[in-house]
């Protein structure tokens, strides 16, 4: 578990992170979202110990990262947004020297290097100088380096930047599998649609402050006024619209042009209420083609939280 409380980071006269508190549980993938300059990278760098916070407490797996930074760092893997590599080394050599840095025993070092190269699909490039790799491949090589010591806690700063679609899918799978293994992952990214696919919680930052933090469902419940339902009937769409307006919990209905489709805003966000509504529509003898509650993605959530409004 990563626990951050009252974290403050100052640069010159600018406060990058202001009294931020954040908790990431085991097996949790937390998406750190915010516009440029929100303080995401500063937060991550402070957690891993690359930046000295003005004050605040950081505990990583129960270890006080500020009192025992070396011990805390041994449990963490950090991948920065711009991944540097030793350009004059081959890919396997690059991983090999970091395997030495992470004190992986010599007997299993080669095996671990090959495993991580395979995990990021770079086995074919093992003998290629790292300097000749594309940006996406460098990113993957750095990810392999980050995973080399088998860290319990992962902090990935914009890990998907520069990756091609295939690599992004692989990255998602890697992150999911790490979460399944019980590791805590903090990921920052601008590609919110993708983050919603693997994040179990979100933390939205703006101007150094934490605007909201919780599971996606919690944040949705906090900011959504009900759930949006897309209903398509075979006929009598207008009649259904009027019927729904008298139904308890329906806030608004809108017919999509002349089609037999309706968009309904329903106050009940729990599955039971939605199931009851569906059953009642059937009972009212409307012939339904489709009924789809639409979950809002992180992008909409981010806009709804209105970080810009807040600032």
């Amino acid at each position: 578990m990563i626990e951050v409380s009252d974290l403050r980071v100052d640069y010159d006269d600018f406060c990058a992170v202001r009294d931020l508190s954040l908790t990431i549980g085991d097996g949790e993938v937390c998406g750190l979202i915010g516009p440029n300059g929100a303080g995401k990278t500063s937060t991550m760098r402070a957690i891993v110990g690359l930046l000295e916070p003005t004050y605040g407490s950081i505990r990583v797996g129960g270890i006080d990262a500020r009192e025992r930074p070396d011990d805390a760092q041994r449990t963490m893997g950090f991948m920065p947004d711009f991944a540097p590599v030793y350009e004059d080394l081959k890919c396997w050599e690059f991983l090999d020297i970091f395997a030495a840095a992470y004190k992986i025993p010599k007997a299993i070092r080669k095996q671990r290097v090959e495993e991580e190269l395979a995990r990021v699909s770079l086995t074919e490039k093992r003998d290629v100088p790292a300097g000749t790799l594309s940006r996406g491949m460098r990113q993957r090589l750095t990810l392999a380096k980050t995973l080399l010591p088998d860290p319990q806690f992962l902090l990935l700063d914009e890990p998907a930047s520069g990756l091609d679609p295939n690599a992004r899918i692989e990255l998602k799978q890697i992150i999911r599998s790490l979460a399944v293994e019980g590791r805590s992952v903090l990921v920052s990214s601008h590609i919110l649609s993708e983050m919603s696919e693997f994040c179990t919680s979100v933390a939205i930052m703006e101007r150094g402050r934490m605007v909201v933090h919780g599971t996606i469902a919690e944040v949705q419940a906090k900011f959504n006024q009900g759930v949006e339902l897309h209903i398509k009937v075979l006929e009598r769409a207008e009649e259904l619209g009027k019927w729904l307006l008298h139904y308890e919990g329906v806030l608004a209905t809108e017919r999509n042009g002349s089609a037999n489709e309706l968009t309904v805003r329903f106050a009940g966000t729990d599955e039971q209420s939605i199931a009851n509504l569906l059953a009642d529509i059937f009972r009212a003898d409307f012939r339904m083609v489709s009924f789809a509650p639409r979950q809002e993605g992180l992008e909409e959530l981010f806009l709804k939280v209105g970080a810009k409004e807040v600032s």
Binding site: D13, P80, Q152
Partner: protein, 537 residues
């Protein structure tokens, strides 16, 4: 998984990679940076070429002495040693600077910092790995050097001591380069290239010491004698000792910088220790003094005081936090319920430390006179005003630097340089002009010296009477140096106090008011309500 189980897991992970107690030999045998550099810079093909070139050149300089019948193999050894020193000092230092700046510029240094590698392991890695090819070449050349010495009959013990001095000089220069490359705000490899050449241009005087123009036998067979604390020894041994002590402080600074970029190179306590070591070295060197006794301080002794002052100036730079660092420290202290950072914390102002510097300098100068009087079996009074000025100069420098850093933050450098120019250089220039003008008209020649003395850097030597010119009004020069320095110390101290209070007044309210969540108003509101509220406001 419960929280407790997780804690155990994290602890165990932390412990698995923890080095065992005692010296970790893997720092040398399995150092990632040395491995990296070996793979890149010790490629077989290039090393064979290098060894062939070195072998041919070294053999040639030895064979030439035989062929021409001069048999001065000590000269051959001089050429080989000169080449070795060139490789280690010039090429090696440049490689080290390039490697550090490149590692910093790419951000790779952070990867190493985040690994379980200790800062000491990083330091050793860079020191040994940066110039690894140069070390390999030097190691290859050593047998040729020994051969030349054996052929001439130069004692190998002397050669060993000479090599030790050469290596300690290399360590000193590499330590200096390492710290300056780690401190550089612009980690640009090209800048490092220029900087390392600049360092060696200034070290030009050391070149002839080891160059091929001097026969090795003069340094190794019959080295120049030295006295250190009355112990009869040789110059290479004294030099090695001093270089090792100085290197020790550079290496400590390097370890701190490898830990992170935030902390100053030395702690405040370490700066005090460094100045104390400089004083001890200075006292030891006094025994070397062979100058005739004067009424006041002799040039050698004045040079030692100047050396202590210079060391103080350098150390003060590491002990004076800038505005942001101080405010950060203040915020942290307030958070912990303290009024200000402790006097020896990195983020504390340097007033206590420069007070300590003044104390050490006072002890140093007093000791200097005690030793001088004991050595010459005579008693002479301290030139009090000049001694006080020499100590006050350090206070003035330290307080002025602290004031500008506290006031202007990162822009302090320019303002501080301007202050030094106006306070220390302008009086000298004006005084010099007045002295020259008075010399021509042969009237009031002393006024120029008095004006010159307003700059303490010149006022102290003039006030001690070490400069043997009959027209110098010594008493007036002493006062001219003392009064402005004393005034500056008082003014800067007061300005720091005022500024500190102003900063306190700004920061304190932030910590006295309850921590209000600025986004609390979001909690119960729907987006529509938020927009409506916003519109209303």
């Amino acid at each position: 998984m419960s929280v407790n189980e997780t804690e155990i897991t994290a602890e165990s992970v932390a412990n698995t990679t923890k080095p065992e107690k005692g010296w970790d030999w893997s720092i040398l045998t399995d150092n990632p940076i040395i491995i990296k550099q070996s793979r890149v810079r010790l490629k077989r093909s290039s090393m064979i070429s290098w060894f062939m070139v070195i072998g041919v050149l070294a053999s040639a300089v030895i064979w030439m002495e035989f062929q021409f019948g001069t048999k001065r193999y000590d000269r051959s050894a001089g050429y080989i040693l000169g080449g070795m020193v060139f490789m280690m000092l010039i090429v090696g230092t440049q490689q080290l600077a390039l490697m550090i700046t490149a590692t910093r510029a790419t951000g790779m240094i952070d990867f190493h910092r985040l690994s379980p590698q200790s800062p000491v392991s990083l330091l050793i890695g860079f020191l040994a790995g940066g110039p690894i090819r140069e070390y390999a070449i030097v190691a290859f050349a050593i047998p040729f050097l020994i051969l030349a010495c054996v052929l001439y009959g130069t004692p190998l013990t002397g050669l060993f001591i000479l090599l030790l001095a050469a290596f300690s000089l290399t360590l000193l220069m590499h330590g200096l380069t390492l710290v300056s490359a780690m401190l550089s705000k612009n980690p640009n490899p090209n800048a490092a290239k220029g900087a390392s050449w600049g360092v060696f241009a200034s070290m030009g005087m050391l070149g002839p010491l080891f160059s091929g123009t001097m026969a090795v036998d003069r340094l190794a067979g019959d080295p120049p004698k030295a006295q250190f604390y009355g112990i009869a020894t040789t110059v290479p041994i004294v030099f090695t000792g001093i270089a090792c002590v100085a290197s020790g402080f550079f290496l400590v600074a390097g370890v701190r910088r490898f830990k992170d970029d935030i902390r100053p190179s030395l702690t405040k306590r370490q700066t005090l220790l460094a100045l104390s070591m400089a004083v001890l070295i200075g006292w030891g060197l006094l025994f070397q003094s062979v100058f005739p006794y004067d009424n006041f301080v002799k040039p050698f002794e004045l040079t030692i005081i100047g050396f202590w002052t210079l060391v103080s100036f350098i150390l003060i730079g590491t002990a004076a936090p800038d505005r942001v660092t101080y405010i950060g420290g203040l915020r942290r202290s307030l958070r912990l319920g303290l009024r200000r950072p402790g006097p020896f914390e990195d983020r504390a102002l340097n007033r206590w430390v420069i007070g300590g510097f003044a104390g050490i300098l006072t002890a140093g100068i007093s000791g200097l006179y005690v030793i001088r009087n004991a050595l010459y079996d005579e008693v002479s009074a301290l030139p009090g005003a000049s001694t006080a000025t020499a100590i006050l100069v350090v206070l003035e420098f330290g307080l002025a630097l602290q004031y500008y850093r506290l006031r202007l933050g990162k822009q302090a450098g320019g303002a501080f340089a301007l202050f030094l120019f106006v306070a220390w250089l302008v009086p000298f220039i004006l005084g010099m002009a007045l002295t020259l003008a008075s010399g021509i008209s042969q009237e009031n020649e002393g006024n120029g010296f008095i004006l010159m003395s307003i700059s303490p850097l010149f006022g102290v030597p003039l006030g001690t009477g070490v400069i043997q010119i009959s027209d110098i009004p010594i008493k007036e020069c002493q006062l001219a140096a003392l009064i402005p320095t004393l005034f500056a110390v008082f003014i800067f101290n007061q300005m720091i106090t005022n500024l500190q209070r102003r900063i306190d007044r700004r920061i304190l309210p932030e910590h006295q008011s309850p921590n209000v969540d600025p986004f609390a108003w979001l909690d119960d509101a729907t987006p529509q309500e938020l927009v409506a509220r916003k519109m209303k406001s």
